[in-house]
Subunit: 161 residues, 2 copies
DNA sequence: CAAAACTACGTAGTTAACTACATATATCCA
DNA sequence: TGGATATATGTAGTTAACTACGTAGTTTTG
């Protein structure tokens, strides 16, 4: 992976993706090592429900930053293994309200110390001269002010490329 | 995206992935805005060939940090639109040697100023109190010393969870 | 020097996200 | 108050990575 590390900023997206995938893969192995039947990709959904209680499909999607179809398929998985349950919202028949099942709650409790350990180790990995998590926050803030595309188009015009 | 931003480090992988995707999407739009028929995902392959000249499939895969099947499918795409060509290695009949076609070379030349602009804008976005690219480098260094999994297992044993 | 092991490439199938579209219900306003 | 618009959910198909496996050529070694 020489070239891609060397071009630096140009391959930023590739680098981000690679690191993300690596962490997720090891994450799966960590749950396994603790004898917990849980996949890292379920974390956003389960943790959000743990924090917020009962939410609709779209509310969950917004919380976790995924599209609603992706969220639906995640919900299907975790519903299939019994971590959540769902019911129609009686005041709005379009909505399906999702919440943790007792088994889901139980699993969350069991995972708490593991999450704590994971958080500690991830903290260790990402806290360096430049803190990775803070760097993400800061970059996302910048993009929120003006997107990557907008910035590029502005440059294009000012430099008359 | 409240909850996932709030849990901080626990959702690191998700955050990395989200940012990566966002950059890639805007990247595609930038090439389009410059009238260049090029997809961000081709960048690692094309740039590597630009830098290194002629390489085999597996060599490219190693350079860009992808598996060789993924690399093959990328190569198929860029070969289809004529940016690269390939030939059998005569000293090792198993190998297929890949290099930029004249048209690929030409496109690279045309893209140089755009890459420069992209690099500048990405630099702007990622250079904050915590520099994102450096933070990635530092985190990957740490992982190279001892993986996320190994660190977690070590913790597990010392804390007798 | 032939069998075993290894390397390079390729294909098939999987996965986890996406976009586009469809349908049902709710809300708004002329 | 009913027709237009908006919202919530769901389905189908796409994409871009992956793993697993197979084949062909190369190298090593008993």
């Amino acid at each position: 992976m020489n070239v891609i590390n060397d071009v630096g900023i140009l391959a930023l997206s590739t680098r981000l993706q690679r690191l993300s995938e690596q962490l997720r893969k090891d994450g799966a192995l960590i749950y396994e090592a603790f004898g917990i039947d849980f996949e890292p990709k379920w974390f956003p959904v389960i943790f959000t429900l743990h924090q917020k209680g009962t939410l609709s499909v779209v509310e969950i999607a917004n919380e976790i930053g995924y599209t609603h179809p992706s969220t639906i398929s995640l919900l299907k998985e975790v519903e299939k293994i019994g971590l959540i349950k769902s019911k129609k919202d009686k005041s709005d028949e379009r909505k399906r309200l999702i919440l943790l099942s007792p088994r889901g709650q139980e699993l969350v409790n069991k995972m708490q110390p593991v999450w704590q350990l994971i958080a500690q180790v991830l903290g260790e990995i990402s806290d360096n001269t430049n803190n990775l998590l803070k760097a993400i926050d800061e970059a996302e803030d910048k993009i929120a002010q003006q997107s990557f595309l907008q910035r590029a188009l502005q440059q294009k015009n000012t430099t008359a490329l």
